[in-house]
């Protein structure tokens, strides 16, 4: 059971990191408030479940959609901001969202929301390993969507905006609209993650979605390699598991994430396995050496 709990938590952070990677990695919009959308998804799903009796299976996609809609609105506000001011604004959004949850009676106030129903199928309440399966399916769906996105015109435009907005505009990309799209997609991932979290914990509190959680998510994305799906997956796995593997570190989690963030920025800004990182470049050199003879003979035909 313990392993299932750890795996579910890591899986939820993987969803969050994949979403942030679309906003910050592909589209270059630094968001230091991603946990706000995690929270919006969790509260949406919790309220749907507790107040309206909506079953998990409907609350989950609804949480994704509603979070995406709110993400798009906040994204629209953010399109007028750049780099530093965007980063600071997203931190502000995170604090505002947490406060709204914390001080509004409708959202349960300081006590949060309890009694969220654990999902069930035909009267059978899911066991933890079964819940893990649901999380894994969501991740697989997220990976599939990401792969499709990267191969699509939409994904190409997002990456163009992220790497050089002025050049993208000069080539016909209306960058503001694409930034909003990136926020909508990335926050949809966060909304689904929030729903998974709420129904797994069955009790949520605004503090779970504060700024430190945002820092954890961005640390995972940066550690693995911002701008690549493999980086998001590896980063969330590594940083999600590390505190469990090294139990004594659990209380220093934030310190560890912060320190890693600083070290990565200094020594490997492309992350552990991002494009341009030491490991990824070496791997490519090796593959190149292995396949070169073939490629040459193919080219001569």
């Amino acid at each position: 059971m313990y392993y299932a709990t750890v795996a579910i938590t890591v899986g939820i952070f993987m969803m969050l990191t994949m979403g942030l990677n679309i906003i910050t990695g592909y589209t270059g919009q630094v968001s230091l408030g991603h946990a706000a959308f995690f929270g919006i998804g969790a509260y949406t799903s919790a309220l749907l479940s507790v107040k309206a009796g909506v079953p998990f299976w409907f609350a989950l996609p609804l949480a994704g959609l509603i979070t995406a809609a709110i993400g798009a609105i906040l994204g629209a506000i953010s399109t007028r901001l750049h780099d530093d001011s965007l980063a600071i604004t997203t931190i502000g959004i995170n604090f505002v969202v947490v406060s709204v949850f914390q001080y509004t009676q409708f959202f349960g106030g300081a006590l949060g929301i309890g009694g969220i129903r654990y999902p069930s199928v035909f009267g059978h309440t899911l066991t933890k390993p079964e819940y893990l399966l649901v999380v894994v399916l969501c991740i697989l769906l997220g990976i599939w969507f990401d792969r499709r996105l990267v191969r699509s015109w939409l994904g190409l435009a997002l990456r163009a905006v992220g790497q050089n907005e002025e050049a993208a505009q000069s080539l016909g990309v209306p960058s503001a609209r694409f930034k909003i799209a990136a926020f909508a997609i990335g926050t949809a991932y966060a909304g689904v993650a929030g729903s998974l979290y709420a129904h797994f914990m069955t009790f949520i509190n605004a503090r779970d979605f504060g700024f430190p959680t945002s820092i954890s998510i961005i640390s995972m994305a940066v550690f693995g390699g911002l701008g690549t799906l493999r980086g998001a997956i590896l980063g969330s796995l590594a940083l999600g598991l590390a505190p469990e593997v090294f139990r004594p570190l659990v209380n220093y989690r934030n310190l560890m994430y912060g320190a890693l963030l600083v070290l990565m920025m200094r020594f490997q800004p492309s992350g552990l396995i991002g494009d341009g990182s030491f490991i990824w470049e070496s791997r490519q050199r090796v593959t190149l050496r292995l396949y070169k003879p073939k490629a040459v003979s193919g080219g001569e035909k």
Partner: protein, 252 residues
């Protein structure tokens, strides 16, 4: 009348940045399918003029007319779709994309406005073919799969030209395309500009290299401190006393 065939008309354009008057009442006309040069000392306002024509920002006053249409207030993404392409004085590559993908971004100008087509795959046989042909034209075909940021600056400049041409532009703005290039690279870039014009594209280029201007341009305008001080054929410009003064400074 030649005037009705002008592809680009700039009328009384001024641009003020806080305290700096970057352009002051500049008017000029560019005829179809010509190579038009813009010269002037550093800080004369050449890049500012390109930014206004391409829609990076609007002028403080004045008008920009492209093919008879007022485009003064249109943002860059829309002027691009109308057929105005540009390169940048400081290279603006999508560094972590392949050279091929850089060019393909330009091929998408008809897609970005259509939500229904955004989900489809971009690397189709047709798009790849078009982009590879452009890379062939600028001599970068063998680097198609290299990350753009890994190319030397001279090759990134050529990539920017290929990328701009992917828009199927009617007007191409080149901001100092030969800066930092060796003699051989400059020669081949001049050939490229010639080839582009042969396909019917109008070229406006900012260039400091007078050899390039003399060889390539049909007409040249000279800017100095935001004011157009002369316009004419390259040979007229080269002997114009106001131009010589602007470049060499007033003697005595």
């Amino acid at each position: 009348m030649a005037e009705t065939h002008d592809i680009l008309v700039i009328e009384h354009v001024s641009k003020q940045f806080y305290g700096v008057q970057a352009l002051r009442d500049v008017s000029l006309r560019v005829g179809r399918a010509m190579i038009f040069g813009i010269v002037g000392p550093n800080g004369a306002g050449k890049t500012t003029l390109f930014n206004i024509v391409s829609g990076a920002y609007p002028p403080t006053s004045g008008f920009v007319i492209f093919e008879g249409k007022d485009i003064t207030q249109l943002p860059a993404a829309e002027t691009a779709r109308l057929g105005i392409a540009r390169t940048f004085q400081i290279v603006h590559s999508f560094r972590n994309m392949t050279v091929l993908d850089n060019v393909i971004v330009g091929c998408g100008h008809r897609v970005y406005g259509k939500v229904s087509r955004l989900a489809s795959e971009y690397k189709t046989y047709e798009i790849r073919g078009k982009s590879m042909a452009l890379l062939q034209m600028v001599g970068l075909a063998e680097h198609a799969d290299t990350l753009a940021g890994k190319l030397p600056i001279a090759q990134q400049r050529r990539m920017e030209v290929a990328r701009a041409l992917a828009l199927d532009p009617k007007l191409l703005l080149l901001d100092e395309p030969c800066a930092g290039l060796t003699y051989g690279e400059t020669e081949s870039l001049m050939d490229l500009v010639y080839k582009v014009r042969e396909t019917g594209v109008t070229v406006v280029m900012v260039e400091h290299n007078m050899g390039v201007i003399m060889n390539l341009c049909d007409e040249v305008a000279v800017l100095d401190f935001g004011v157009k001080i002369a316009q004419g054929s390259p040979h007229e410009i080269a002997i114009d006393p106001r131009v010589i003064e602007a470049y060499l400074g007033k003697e005595a």
